[in-house]
């Protein structure tokens, strides 16, 4: 029995083992078969990655513009190109669009480029390291005319207007294709398609209803007045309907930064003449640390810095409460739902905003107003920010290992011909990048405005700890709730109790500062004895709030700026090193082909770029040494002002 069972057991085990190996083999066969099918489909199927599908040449392009109608419009563009290329040149081509979500874009492109599996065209980001290694410099292409301009012009009218025909491709762009120019590498690397500007969008219906205006404000004063009228209108409506929600401006961390981007530059323009020691047109980091540690610039009292901050604070009072914690989408939704009368954003939101509104109300678009000379901030906000240097975006780069370079360039020329760029951007609801291409009528107010000044000064050193501290403190400054009337009454009552009793109840530096000021203003009398209205109190409170913020930050700047500056100085060496590769490449070309014009320009240009950067580093080093000694000597005005 035992023997039998042992033999039986052995047989069973053998059968099991055989079965297991059969299962393994079957599994292997299935997986292999699946792999073969998958690879075959990937290689030869309709979405194949190869450069040839069923006799057609294939171009692939990747981007992250998934908003609005981009993907749909680009798909249409691919089909139009395939059809017209066959008609025009008899070439069968298949264009494939690869849409990558923005979050994964960085990782995806890096992997594809390093693995040499990247598509022919990739939407560029601020990549110096990748651009120099994996993308084709485009100078030779941008100097040639765009043949699609002639094709479309002839198609539309036999007596076509030859304005763009025969011009170098570069010159057909509104910005002369500078959106594709890489300053560091001194060459064109991008082929942009759209131009982006920023404006204020307003709900005309609500503006009329709440503020009684149908035209855009002409000055900052008028703008603030409209905001105030809307605020009061909303307050009145809320009395009857507590659920009624309307704010003058849709706020979020994003819209706050949009307003900052405009008014900060306007407010601080006046510092150029006072502090641009080397006359290069900027009040840069090196000049700033010398000025701060030398005591020439005191951030706590500088009037331009004060104006720049205070105007932003004043505007932000018309945002929705808690705006600094809100995101861009939330502010767009507020505007689309008529819960905000205005929003500041760029061309990129035009398409989705108009679609969301879809006839519910009329949108009015206007530029950020400046102050009239006799208005508040009139001395500072005299000029708008210019858009003369606005550069076209949505820029595609050509990868070095593209197997269909000429065709990929041709596809980009197709998209940036006047006729098609107009069509494409009308579909996107973006502003065209090509001269003469008419934008969608609703976007006319987005046309770049040349007249204006540019931003010359920033409060922090970027990147660095000063930036982090500034953002933290600026967030606190902007998002602070103001005292209510009840708090005001209590504050004055506490103040009347005398300094000691007041300080026992109020430990906040801003409140103590405010108390000192109110006492000083009233000649030391207790405020209850003198009429001191809420409005006046709020003005005093805002002043104290600003001073507390700027003093706190100025101290941080004094403590941290030198280290930030030094770190950036050290790391800027890498940019000098990076310029070595294009120089070596230009040298090698000059050795092989002599100094033909394009090689001469390339070599001279990259050497100029690198040596300019080296000279700049030397200046920064000298400034650092000077500032370091000044700091050691403690000559700063900020240091002296400290208790």
């Amino acid at each position: 029995m035992t023997d039998l069972s042992a033999v039986e057991m052995e047989k069973r085990q053998e059968r099991k083992a055989r079965f297991r190996s059969c299962v393994g083999l079957a599994l292997l066969a299935v997986v292999t078969g699946w792999s073969v099918v998958h690879v075959t489909i990937r290689a030869f199927g309709p979405d194949s990655d190869t450069s040839l599908i069923a006799g057609k040449q294939v171009i692939r392009f990747a981007h992250w513009q998934l908003e609005g109608r981009c993907v749909e419009a680009l798909n249409q563009a691919c089909r139009d190109y395939e059809r017209l290329k066959r008609e025009k040149d008899g070439i069968d081509v298949a264009v494939r669009q690869i849409e990558i979500p923005e979050r994964a874009y960085e990782q995806w492109t890096r992997t594809q480029l390093i693995g040499r599996t990247a598509p022919d065209l990739i939407e560029l980001r601020w990549w110096q390291d990748l651009v120099v290694r994996y993308f084709v410099p485009l100078t030779e292409y941008v100097e040639q005319p765009n043949p699609w301009n002639e094709f479309f012009d002839k198609q539309r009218d036999p007596n076509f207007d030859p304005e763009l025909v025969g011009l170098p491709w570069r010159e057909t762009y509104i910005d002369n294709m500078l959106g594709g120019w890489n300053w560091e590498l001194r060459d064109y690397y991008g082929m942009p398609m759209s131009l982006f500007t920023i404006r204020v969008y307003a709900n005309r219906t609500l503006m009329e209803q709440a503020a009684g205006v149908t035209e855009p404000p002409r000055t900052l004063g008028e703008f603030m007045d409209i905001c105030e009228r809307i605020r009061r209108y909303a307050a009145e409506r809320r009395k009857a309907d507590p659920d009624y929600r309307l704010v003058p401006i849709a706020g979020s961390d994003y819209t706050a930064s949009v307003f900052r981007g405009r008014y900060w530059g306007m407010g601080t323009w006046g510092m150029l003449d006072d502090y641009d020691e080397n006359c290069d047109g900027w009040f840069d980091d090196a000049e700033r640390i010398e000025a701060v540690y030398g005591g020439e610039l005191d951030l706590t009292v500088e009037p331009n810095v004060r104006a720049g901050h205070r105007v932003l604070y004043d505007i932000s009072r018309y945002f929705n409460p808690g705006f600094m914690a809100a995101k861009r989408d939330q502010s767009v939704l507020l505007f689309a739902q008529s819960k905000a009368a205005m929003i500041a954003t760029g061309t990129w939101d035009a398409g989705s905003l108009w679609r969301q509104v879809s006839g519910d109300f009329e949108i009015m678009v206007f530029d950020f107003p400046i102050a009239a000379p006799d208005e508040k901030y009139g001395q500072f906000l005299q000029h708008r920010l210019t858009e003369a240097g606005a550069r076209a975006g949505f820029s595609m780069g050509l990868t070095r290992f593209s197997q269909n370079k000429e065709l990929a360039i041709d596809f980009m020329r197709f998209l940036t011909s006047r006729h098609y760029n107009e069509k494409l951007n009308r579909a996107f609801r973006w502003f065209p990048a090509i001269r003469g291409a008419e934008p969608d009528p609703i976007l006319k107010a987005f046309r770049p405005e040349e007249k204006g000044i540019y931003g010359v000064f920033e409060m922090f050193i970027n990147p660095g700890d000063t930036r982090l501290r500034y953002e933290q403190k600026y967030f606190g400054y902007m998002s602070q709730s103001e005292p209510t009337t009840e708090m005001y009454v209590q504050f004055l009552a506490d103040l009347a109790l005398g300094t000691e009793a007041f300080q026992a109840r109020h430990s906040d530096a801003r409140e103590r500062l405010l108390a000192e000021r109110i006492r000083a203003r009233l000649g030391g009398e207790a405020p209850t004895k003198t009429p001191y209205g809420y409005e006046q109190f709020i003005q005093e409170w805002r002043g104290a709030h600003y001073d507390a913020f700027i003093r706190d930050y100025a101290k941080d700047y004094y403590d941290l700026a030198l280290a930030d500056f030094h770190r950036n100085y050290v790391s800027s060496y890498q940019r000098v090193v990076q310029a070595g590769a294009p120089i070596a490449s230009a040298r090698a070309k000059a050795m092989r082909h002599g100094l033909e014009p394009s090689i001469r320009r390339a070599l001279a240009s990259v050497v100029l770029g690198q040596t300019t950067r080296q000279a700049e580093r030397l200046r920064f080093y000298n400034s650092y040494e000077k500032a370091r000694k000044l700091k050691e000597q403690g000559k700063s005005a900020v240091a002296e002002a400290r208790p």
């Binding site: 090193v577 000279a615 030397l618 200046r619």
Partner: protein, 344 residues
């Protein structure tokens, strides 16, 4: 026989034929080693070593390092001319220096040294010396800088490679090693090196960069008039070189079109020119109080630079300086395009 024919069905025969054709195509287009020059080849056929070198450089452009390396190695190990072997070695050095990932500076240096030492009579040797000098002057990490070695190599290029393109760069970079010391007598020595070289070679390929360095050094020393002179000279050198490349037809274009054409041939892009002109104008206005000069350079931005953020600031400043010039009894000349309806 019948059965055997039946076994080879039509698809099978087609597959067989396709296989043969594909093999033939692969053989024809494969990366075969260059044929040794044979008697049957016509004399005008391009040199196979030159073709291989060209292919190597092209593969390098395409970031295909293994293919580039293979081509250069074949030249190095084959029977090319001395000059070609030197170029292949230089190219291998270049490849090892710039391949990412996988750069190997030691291998790069080894190749460059071989070219500089054993092939001194070839054009590649000057470039190899320059590459070695730059590796000492601007290595991957700043702490590894060896300024003494860099200077020695720059001097060697200047002394031994007269007439080579590398000489201009060697002079500029050697001068910069002195300028960066920031004090005299070295700073003066650096400036003198550049200005002397520019006297002898005013239109050398790096003249713009040289004037720019001299200007920056003068400005750092507070010699503003000289700095402005050098900045102006940088623009003039750029314009002369651009002018030399104009065709006869382009020279006859109306001024506006000719300036546009010139701009395309320039080394400095529009943004760099706007920055340079703005700096010259502001130095003239703020430091030299030479208002007519300031107007001239502000207006060059207004009329000649197509799109730049400094446009409106330059326009306002030009108006301001024109008034100041009048108050001082001087008159600023109008820009040549001012009467032609150009903006504004």
């Amino acid at each position: 026989m019948v059965r055997s024919t039946a076994r080879h069905s039509t698809p099978a025969r087609a597959a067989l034929l396709a296989g043969v054709l594909l093999t033939w195509a692969a053989v024809c287009t494969g990366n075969a080693a260059p044929d040794k020059p044979s008697k049957e080849q016509p004399a005008e056929r391009p040199d196979p070593w030159a073709r291989l070198l060209e292919r190597g450089w092209k593969q390098l452009d395409l970031v295909n390092y293994p293919a580039a390396e293979e081509s250069f190695r074949k030249v190095r190990d084959g029977q090319p001319s001395r000059s070609q072997r030197a170029e292949a070695l230089f190219a291998l050095g270049h490849l090892w220096q710039y391949r990412r990932p996988g750069a190997d500076i030691d291998k790069a240096v080894e190749h460059y040294r071989q070219v500089a030492g054993e092939f001194q009579d070839t054009p590649s040797s000057a470039m190899a010396l320059m590459a070695l000098a730059c590796l000492a002057d601007i290595p991957e990490y700043e702490k590894d800088r060896n300024v003494g070695e860099a200077r020695r190599l720059y001097r060697r290029i200047i002394q031994e490679k007269a007439g080579s393109l590398a000489v201009h760069e060697a002079v500029l970079r050697l001068a910069m090693t002195y300028l960066e010391e920031g004090t005299d007598p070295n700073q003066s020595r650096g400036i003198r090196m550049i200005t002397d070289h520019l006297m002898a070679h005013p239109d050398n390929v790096l003249a713009v960069a040289m004037h720019n360095q001299a200007a920056t050094a003068y400005q750092a020393r507070g010699e503003i008039a000289r700095a402005v002179e050098q900045y102006v000279a940088a623009d003039a050198a750029d314009e002369r070189a651009a002018e030399a490349e104009l065709t006869d037809a382009e020279r006859k274009l109306p001024l506006k079109r000719r300036l546009d054409q010139l701009a395309q041939n320039r080394v400095m892009d529009a943004g760099s020119r706007a920055s340079l002109y703005f700096r010259i104008a502001r130095l003239a206005e703020q430091k030299l109080k030479d208002y007519p000069l300031a107007v001239k350079w502000y207006e060059r931005i207004v009329y000649e630079i197509v799109r730049d953020n400094k446009f409106y600031a330059a326009k306002l400043s030009a108006e301001r300086c024109r008034k100041l010039a009048r108050q001082a009894g001087a008159e600023a000349l109008p820009h040549p395009l001012a009467g032609e309806g150009a903006r504004p």
